[in-house]
Assembly symmetry: C2
Homo-oligomer: 318 residues x 2
């Protein structure tokens, strides 16, 4: 099978490279700790070579496409944002080209970078880079299931809630849940009260319910102190503290997102297995249903965008 596309999911911490064949299937994959925050100045070309010099040599005509923070101001080249509502056509038309003249293993070739998506709801602008591609990929893979209209939730350091309907990303919002968890878990007065990071289902569930109360009607800054006082009064075991805090923040995130109109219909979760499981539990406790989306949403999205941009033709419709 011919290699049709070299697809890169290039974020802050990691570079995930995929070799895609002419039917749109993944032939090979590699993950490198070469996220844009880990690279020295000018380190993009070296990282690209490390990731796929052999693929490039073996497939001299395969186009290269990338999504994620590689297109940010701190990335290889800043790719302008496409505004919401954003369709597959908008993303295909919004590719930014990096001439790879200085990359020995790819001289004369071009790297296409997918635009980020921005939104300005008036209250504050919001942005994403990479998640739009995952949403497109999930929509492509799940078309027959429920993606006619769905809210795609991508939990993580900066969780994204993305409303997708009729082929368009209509709105989205970022919640700094994972980052705030890491700060409080690692660096706050609460951190010494928590022992380990094992999962405790009861404490997580209690946290989710407390977080929902905090999310509806404020009080998150107050309820966080509960990690301390519940431990002090013996109502939260130290080994369960991190689970409670995790639930508290995830519950607050979900409550706030719902308050802002997200998640009324089908909910699709994309992300790491562990996080998806936690969010599934949280949604269930809050009497909402969420299904796990497909694996490999990013390469599926990159392939779909490359196809729509006319960079490749795929033997079977994706």
């Amino acid at each position: 099978m011919t290699t049709a596309l070299i697809a890169l999911d290039w974020g802050t911490s990691r570079l995930r490279a995929y070799r895609v064949d002419s039917r749109g299937a993944i032939e090979a994959r590699r993950t490198l700790d070469c996220g844009i925050s880990c690279l020295p100045a000018g380190g993009f070309a070296t990282a690209l070579a490390d990731a796929c010099a052999d693929w490039l040599a073996a497939a001299p005509h395969a186009p290269l496409i990338a999504s994620g923070m590689v297109g940010s101001r701190q990335g290889w080249l800043e790719a302008p944002y496409v505004q919401c509502p954003a369709t597959l056509d908008d993303l295909a038309a919004g590719l930014t080209e990096v001439e790879l003249t200085e990359v020995a293993c790819a001289a004369g070739r071009v790297l296409y970078i997918v635009a980020g998506v921005s939104m300005d709801g008036g209250r504050m602008p919001d942005v994403m880079r990479g998640e739009e591609t995952q949403v497109i990929g999930a929509a492509s893979a799940m078309e027959s299931v429920c993606m006619e209209s769905a809210c795609v939730v991508l939990p993580g350091t900066h969780s994204k809630w993305v409303d997708y309907a009729h082929g368009s990303i209509s709105s989205f919002a970022t919640h700094m849940t994972g980052e705030v968890f890491a700060l409080l878990r690692g660096h706050s007065i609460l951190s010494v009260l928590m022992e380990g990071d094992g999962y405790d289902a009861q404490a997580f569930g209690d946290g989710v319910m407390a977080g929902q109360e905090a999310g509806c009607g404020g009080g998150l800054l107050h309820r966080l102190f509960g990690v301390r006082t519940l431990t002090l009064f013996g109502r939260l075991a130290p080994h369960a503290g991190a689970s409670y805090l995790s639930g508290l923040l995830i519950g607050a995130e979900i409550a706030a997102a719902v308050e802002h109109g997200y998640g009324a219909g089908a909910i699709v979760l994309l992300g790491s297995e562990d996080l998806i499981e936690r969010y599934r539990v949280a949604f269930a406790l809050l009497r909402m249903q969420a299904v796990a989306g497909p694996d490999d949403a990013a390469p599926a999205g990159l392939t779909r965008i490359a196809q729509r941009a006319g960079l490749i033709s795929i033997d079977r419709p994706l």
Copy 2:
């Protein structure tokens, strides 16, 4: 004038010592970086001697009283909590005695530690140590003004909102505002976007209004991301970023506290001048009125509690 009392406001970071005369006035004061988190194991006796060995020698009959984290589990001796509603009588009756047998400069004397106050609203317990004494002191100093019934707000690392009415602390709530600010200012992805910590009134006010929206109806984890996106889109100058973040968190704290029934009547602010000024501005923006409480609320409260406990008699009523 005879020294009637040696009063210690002994918190996490600092030890503030006061020599109080027989009219209840402060004769002398010292601040040492000997908070309980700064001391080696068994370092309390040494810190006490550093703070006031000469005062102890000069006034061999003056009782010693302390409030704050010195009475916590990590303090000199754990002083049990008095439950809400807590009156001056409850605090006077709830003093815990530390025999100073091992303290050369105070052999045979006793250190009285003021109880912390706890509250269990059902949702989560809450605790304070030291603030109850400041509230008693402020009430004592402001009796004629507005303290018949007031909400005392003590901004800081862990802000306290304390409802005080008819001589009793009726309820209170802690908000981790200052600590979350420090974590986000110092260690988050937002920190690199902020330049300096100068005060920008416009950005602070914008933050307060955004925080109020976040506090009412959740969304704090979302609105925090606004520090990034507003900067990215040139709507928030880097030098004003920290002011916006400060306003956002303070606004969220106030909105949540109000939502939980605090601050409907008179509001009295106790704390550092800078923080009090920020909260005054925030309250004004939210169409609430707050007045600054008296300086030296802690020694005034310690004196009042010592007096009510019969440890001292004061020549004029406090």
